[in-house]
Amino acid sequence: MTTEETILTKISEPVFNHANGRLLMPEERYWPSRKWKSPWSLPAYRSGAALLAGILSGAVLAAWLIGEIPLRLAPLYSLAEQYALSYGVPLFLFHLAWTVIKAALLLAVPLVNALFAVWWERKVSAHIQSRLGPMYVGRFQGCLQTVADGLKLFLKEDIVPDCADKLVHLLAPVVVVIPAILVFAPVPFGRELIYADLDIGTVYVFAVGGVSVMGIIMAGWASGNKFSLLGGLRSAAQLVSYELPRTFAVIPIIMLAGTLNISAIAGLQAGYWGGILPRWFIFYPVVGQVAFIVFLIASVAETNRVPFDIPEAESELVAGFNTEYSGMKFALFFLSEFAYVLLSCLLMAAFFFGGGEPPLPFLGFLPSWAWFLAKTLTLMFCFLWFRWTFPRFRVDRLMDFNWKFLLPVSLLNIAAAGLLIWLIS
């Protein structure tokens, strides 16, 4: 027996693997894998790095080939319009159909995001903890695991507790998930890639996003269970509190940009200082960085993720407000949580990282949506990373941190932004 083999755990008996329903063959009886002499060997790392490089370069090539999506869709739109007109379809009907198609595409954003983000979160958490995470479903790195989970949730029995308020219990996930979908309307995904270019986009996003709190309170109260009630209470207190610094962190950006339109704010950050440093709002001295950090912290708190996951702290509250939910109702809560993570990342990419603008001038060959997506996914990785790195806050410290630190800092930052604008002009 060589030293490499002692590192691997040898499974003594042929094991029935429940994941794919077959016996593990003798040559597969090594875990993690016998492909490499050791799981920590240099060739294994090289192969992993090569895989990542391959995926990245493939994505870059695909983005370059696709180009700007509005440019690709414009001929399609005019073609469809001509086709409709030649068949005598009324124009308003055609516009209605087009709006429905656009709305369906927008609806797909949170759904696809949840499918991807849940799998990604499990992989990230596994690798942070030296595990492998999902490996079987979908052959490649368990990439269809979330689909399987979704099917499982579909097939689960929908349990409503006896002492629950039936109607409110039923409506709570609906009230949570509808704002989580509506909120994407004024958010850009690239240059001119936007569902509704609202002039008040920023206010709209914060307003509609805040409605989900009602659903969480409803879920906590209607479950008729003390853990759920406590979870709902904590969640309401936390969300209402962190909403303030989160909104105040964006005010300096609005002051510097002079508009509330999210795509206009993203578009204003085009260009470079000295031909090198992009004119992103995060590079404005002090004001930009402070605003970004406050917004990031408050966003993590708003999405109830780990350092701030007091509302669903497993060790204290079972699972907080979603204790009594099963099947698709639970899935809706999960979906809206990841939708809000995506929304926060999209907003940060638009407000602080120049939206679809490339970070260096010579990288402009990639379309704007690719840059937007890359920035969003990088920020999303930070969200996943935090979750598996930081310990949970205590309830009182959570509130102290918000009211005694974040809020004053964000208020001072507004004053600093005023000073900066005065100095510039």
Binding site: D165, I200, A207, M214, A236, A237
Partner: protein, 164 residues
């Protein structure tokens, strides 16, 4: 035509929700109906094309005040689930008084005849609003903010004294 359908739908939602606030036996249901009612009013603002008022209504009333009321109801604990009567013996005079007020409002509206706001594509109103608030009406605006600040400080002060 479409505007009228939307208006009547929203009006039905608002009226039913408002009735729910005063008639439903459970405190929590009343609070939720209040949230729905305020959201319906936001819908009316949106259909009249005033985008900023719509967002402010959602932000302040639905996301702020309704949530705070729900929060208080949750803090009330078991009282929030208790079934109470919302109507006492004086319901008939109250209803008559409400009817009188409703009739008076109708008369006033008919007398001044505002008419419906002109229907057009909603235009951005933020700049105009900001110009009015911080330009022509700067003093009343600042006065209101001082009043709000004073009431907030007072609330904090009273809350503190009680705790000691």
């Amino acid at each position: 035509m479409t505007e009228q359908i939307i208006f009547y739908l929203l009006a039905a939602v608002i009226t039913l929700a408002a009735l729910g606030v005063v008639l439903l036996p459970t405190l929590m249901h009343s609070a939720l109906c209040l949230g729905l009612c305020l959201a319906g009013v936001a819908g009316i603002f949106a259909s009249l094309g005033s985008d900023f008022i719509f967002a402010a209504q959602i932000l302040v009333y639905v996301g702020g005040i309704a949530v705070l009321i729900l929060f208080v109801v949750l803090l009330a604990g078991s009282a929030s689930g208790r079934i109470t009567r919302q109507i006492n013996a004086q319901w008939l005079p109250a209803l008559l008084l409400c009817g009188l007020f409703g009739w008076a409002f109708l008369k006033i509206v008919a007398h001044f005849s505002f008419g419906l706001a002109p229907q057009s594509a909603p235009e951005p109103t933020v700049r105009a609003l900001a110009g009015l608030m911080l330009g022509d009406y700067a003093v009343p605006f600042e006065l209101i903010s001082i009043v709000l600040l004073a009431s907030m400080t007072g609330a904090v002060l009273f809350g503190r004294r009680k705790a000691e």
